[in-house]
């Protein structure tokens, strides 16, 4: 049976990137993309390429910074790391998402007490 894959919800890619960088430290684009795929248990329909405009946007906002470096198998790659402002942003967005998903879950819960 074909596994059902979800589209990336708008606005969530940024959060996923920030979270990845905050957990794993400096990482190149490919690594970030792999990590997102792994965490989502391959349930996400991610065009890996879309991560690059997102990275540019995060860098422009000052939430991440980038630096050229060398990968584990000696390949030149651009490494991204989260900044102090990025951490603040991540905390705020995490909180937002937690609250939003809580509301959605409560709303969708079949128990009748809230209805």
């Amino acid at each position: 049976m074909e596994q059902q894959k979800n589209e990336v919800l708008p606005g969530t890619l940024n959060l996923m990137v920030l979270k990845t960088l905050s957990t794993l430290g400096p990482l190149h684009g490919y690594g970030i993309a792999r990590r997102i795929e792994q965490i989502s248990g391959n349930m996400l329909q991610l065009n890996q390429g879309t991560i690059y405009p997102a990275l540019l946007h995060l860098e422009q906002m000052g939430w991440i910074s980038s630096k050229w470096g060398v990968s584990e198998n000696n390949r030149r790659a651009k490494y991204y790391s989260i900044t102090r402002a990025g951490k603040k942003q991540l905390a705020a967005e995490e909180e937002n998402w937690r609250r939003a998903s809580e509301i959605m879950i409560r709303f969708l819960e079949p128990s009748g007490e809230n209805i």
Partner: protein, 908 residues
């Protein structure tokens, strides 16, 4: 501030485009390679690994594009692209580009030049600190229709004491003095001022000091013309210091002014002036503040500075209240010359006006007329360019069609057209700025004193902004006008409609026609306006001035008021000089007068007139002009003596004072009586003067003014009379009638005056025609400039009509060919095209006439001897335009009639 950071990032993206593009390539390549390696490790075949990597990544080009969009400023990118494209396409059609640039440079240049004048003369505040606080105070004699007249010394000092609104009020006189700089004698323009004036103006010296408050005042008996000398101190203007003294240190040293040694105490900053008199030297004003006599001696010009926080309105209210009670306060009746509110018989009133308004005077209207004229020229230029662009857009329809097919949006096509238009107009504007610079310099050189504040006319920031604004506005106007009737939705269709062989939509043609009609209409308005102004100058030059101005040379000299020149020595010196001139071969006669017709300041005074009672009971009615003349004056000038006789050498005896009056004076005071033997005397003179003759009216106040009343004194007699009656003018205008070319005498004149007294410079040496031209310099400036602009407008309009007609003929080539092939006579083709052209012209003329009738009324005050709706001028303008338009239509019409039917059909 996030937006700023993003903006800076994007700006960086714009400039580091190539490097960032490479980095992006490298990053994506690394990504893909890592993915492929992972796949290979999982055991995929190389092709499958590569394919799977690309699939997971998504479209590489799309990712790059969306990355680029985010990286850089898309609008700048596409604008740059449009600019490059526009530059390329303009370079491809050099003739079009050159014509368009030239037209724009002329139009925008003329507008910038005239706006520099508007800006420098009207808009820019005066160059003093807080100039809006400066007020010009003058008296107004409502009964005599004198709107602005100087103030007398007692009135000045009273006002200084009474008012509470002004921080300071000062007084000044203007004139000319002789200045000896080294071994050269110069005549320089002087401002005679008190310290209060300088403190009111708030001028700071460039070097040394200025006059202090009461420093210039004198004590002791004070009479008009007979006062103790003020302190011997002077201030030089920066400009005079540079030109006459080479900028050498001079403060503390002495110079000779009118024969008197004076210490230079300071140098004025560059450009310092008072009321646009272009003062070169500043002299102390010797008033006696204790003297409160001579209330009728109106000679002082007053300038005051309002206190901080006092509005003009508040000051005006206070002034009105002061005038109300002035007479009681100083113990003088209105009849004896106290101020009183307007409306009372013989009352004169103290009035206050912003200094800048008084300086501008009546010049504002002339300047706005010029600005309107150049504005019209620019509009015509716009119409021509719109036509050119329209024709170009039509010949380029294929290019547009291709671009539209390739997916260029309509907006993008429009932006492309606008970019081209703006590029042209900005480039044309830059050229225009250069032309304007040259134009302004030429204007200042050609008309140095025709308008006030001409020396302040420069291109400052507001002029630059104006040019930028006009250039952009022009570009938008001619870039968009052709498509005014096209909705954006239909733009691509409009741009691509028709074909080289197709038929141009009728809408296009009606736009063309409309543009031509508008051009002709604007040109008609300008040509009629120019015609009226030229008529004005013609009328002014042909005014009967009352004397024969041909072969008359004139110059002026000033004898020092101090030192060796007593009044009789002065008169004798003039007489000796005249005798010497009379002996020069080629000089028929020579004489001199205190004032030079046809334009001189009004200098008459209140006078007693025997046998006359004024209808309003005024005991001393005013005479407009006093004129002191030497012997042979009437003979030299060619002024007929219509009754009685002129002055004779025997009249020099002061035992019985004699005078001559003009016809206007007789008509005013002794209408129907025999004037010979009647008596009158100036207010300050005791003995009566007996009238011995009546001279024909001579223009004194300007050629466009009604001749006023005039009283002639005989210098030879006056100089012999005892004080205070005895006097001889310090400055006198010599007139020489000659059989030689007038200016051939100039060297002789200079050397003879120098021989008589080397400290006396010869000033204003010229022939009488030049003096006339000088007196009508502003109407001449207007007529000449508007004339040039009208010529330019006519030329542009005709080029426009010619262009459109030629274009239509080319478009209709095939149709004309068919008609000729079917047997239509060539003459009918010729007349057909001519008719079309002339129909457009006629429409334009009609609309222009309506516009001219509406607009020219605004010029009425600038005209002389011609009505704004003058029929001959309009007829002339219409005839000129019709003729020129007919010639412009003839060429395309003739070409149409010469079309070879075979070629026209084969051409398809």
């Amino acid at each position: 501030m996030t937006w700023l950071r993003v903006f800076i990032y994007r700006l960086r993206g714009l400039f580091l485009k190539q490097r960032l593009e490479q980095e992006l390539d490298e990053e994506i390549r690394a990504h893909l390679e890592m993915q492929i390696e992972d796949h290979l490790r999982q055991g995929m075949s190389p092709e499958a690994a590569r394919y799977e990597a690309l699939r997971k990544f998504g479209g590489v080009e799309q990712v790059k594009e969306s990355y680029r969009d985010r990286r850089s400023l898309a609008i700048v990118d596409s604008t740059l692209q449009d600019l490059r494209y526009a530059l390329r396409s303009l370079r491809r059609s050099p003739v079009f580009t050159a014509v368009a640039l030239l037209t724009l440079a002329l139009g925008i240049g003329a507008n910038t030049a005239i706006f520099s004048v508007v800006n420098g003369v009207i808009l820019r505040p005066l160059g003093y600190p807080k100039p809006e606080q400066l007020m010009y105070l003058s008296t107004r004699f409502s009964g005599f229709g004198i709107m602005r007249h100087p103030v007398s010394p007692p009135e000045y000092f009273e006002f200084r004491e009474f008012n509470r609104s002004f921080a300071d009020v000062g007084a000044y006189l203007t004139g000319e003095v002789n200045l000896t700089a080294g071994d050269r004698a110069l005549r320089v323009r002087s401002a005679t001022v008190d310290g209060h004036l300088l403190s009111a103006l708030a001028i700071q010296p460039e070097q040394g000091r200025l006059f202090a408050g009461g420093e210039t005042y004198v004590s002791g008996p004070w009479f008009p013309g007979h006062a103790p000398p003020p302190p011997a101190i002077v201030i030089l203007s920066h400009e005079l210091w540079q030109t006459a003294f080479g900028g050498q240190p001079i403060v503390g040293k002495a110079v000779e002014v009118d024969g008197r040694r004076c210490e230079v105490v300071g140098i004025m900053p560059p450009g310092a002036d008072i009321m646009d008199n272009r003062a070169e030297i500043w002299l102390p004003l010797g008033l006696n503040p204790a003297n409160r006599q001579f209330r009728g001696y109106h000679v002082l010009n007053l300038v005051g500075r309002l206190k901080d926080g006092v509005t003009m309105q508040a000051a005006q209210t206070e002034l009105n209240a002061l005038v109300e009670t002035w007479g009681e306060r100083v113990g003088v009746t209105v009849m004896d010359g106290a101020f009183a509110p307007l409306g009372q018989p013989f009352a004169h009133n103290l009035q206050m006006e912003p200094m800048q308004d008084v300086i501008l005077g009546g010049a504002g209207r002339s300047i706005w007329v010029l600005q309107a004229a150049v504005g019209f020229v620019l509009l015509i230029a716009c119409a021509n360019l719109a036509n050119l662009l329209l024709a170009r857009a039509e010949t380029r329809h294929r290019e547009f069609a291709v671009r539209a097919a390739l997916g260029a949006s309509r907006g993008r096509l429009l932006i492309h057209l606008l970019t081209e238009a703006l590029l042209l107009s900005i480039a044309g504007g830059s050229l225009g700025l250069f032309l304007a610079k040259v134009g302004v310099q030429t204007l200042i050189r050609a008309y140095p004193t025709s308008l006030p504040r001409m020396s302040e006319v420069t291109a400052d920031l507001s002029v630059l902004l104006f040019t930028l604004g006009v250039s952009t506005g022009t570009g938008l106007l001619f870039g968009l006008a052709p498509f005014a009737r096209t909705r954006l939705k239909d733009l691509a269709t409009a741009l691509t409609e028709g074909g080289t062989r197709g038929i141009i939509g009728p809408a296009r043609h009606s736009i063309r026609r409309g543009l031509v009609i508008a051009e002709v209409a604007l040109a008609v308005i300008l040509v009629i306006g120019a015609g009226l102004l030229v008529r004005t100058v013609y009328n002014l030059t042909n005014v009967e001035a009352g004397f024969d101005r041909s072969r008359l040379v004139t110059f002026s000299i000033t004898t020092p008021s101090m030192g060796s020149y007593t009044k009789s020595a002065r008169a004798q010196m003039y007489q000796r000089l005249l005798d010497a001139f009379r002996a020069v071969p080629g000089v028929q006669s020579a004489s001199a007068a205190s004032g030079l017709p046809p334009a001189r300041p009004r200098d008459g005074e209140d006078s007693y007139i025997d046998n006359y009672s004024s209808p309003d009971g005024d005991p001393t009615p005013s005479i407009d002009n006093y004129q002191s003349v030497m012997s042979d004056y009437f003979e030299t000038m060619g002024i007929p003596i219509v009754q009685g006789r002129s002055f004779q050498p025997t009249d020099a005896n002061p035992s019985g004072m004699v005078a001559i009056v003009n016809e206007s004076l007789v008509n005013k005071f002794w209408r129907g009586q025999n004037p010979i033997g009647q008596r009158l005397r100036p207010g300050w003179a005791k003995p009566w003067f007996t009238i011995i003759g009546v001279a024909r009216d001579v223009k004194q106040a300007g050629l466009d003014q009604k001749t006023g009343t005039e009283l002639y004194f005989f210098v030879d007699q006056m100089s012999n009379a005892p004080s205070p009656l005895g006097r001889a003018p310090g400055t006198i205008n010599m007139v020489l009638r000659t059989t030689l070319p007038p200016l051939a005498l100039s060297q002789t004149i200079k050397s003879m005056v120098h021989k008589m007294d080397p400290s006396i410079p010869v000033a204003q040496l010229r022939d009488m025609d030049a003096a006339f031209a000088e007196s009508i310099r502003r109407p001449r400036l207007l007529a000449e400039l508007v004339g040039v602009f009208a010529g330019l407008a006519l030329l542009l309009a005709v080029i426009g009509a010619y262009g459109v007609l030629s274009y239509m003929v080319v478009q209709r080539r095939r149709e004309i060919g068919i008609r000729l092939a079917l047997g239509a006579p060539r003459s009918s083709v010729l007349f057909g095209v001519m008719k079309q052209g002339l129909l457009l012209t006629t429409c334009g003329i009609f609309i222009g006439l309506v516009g001219a009738l509406a607009l020219n009324r605004l010029m009425a005050s600038l005209l002389f001897g011609v009505q704004p709706s003058d029929i001959p001028t309009m007829a002339m303008a219409i005839a000129t335009i019709t003729l020129v338009a007919a010639i412009a239509c003839l060429l395309p019409a003739w070409r149409a009639s010469r079309v070879d039917p075979l070629a026209a059909l084969k051409y398809e």
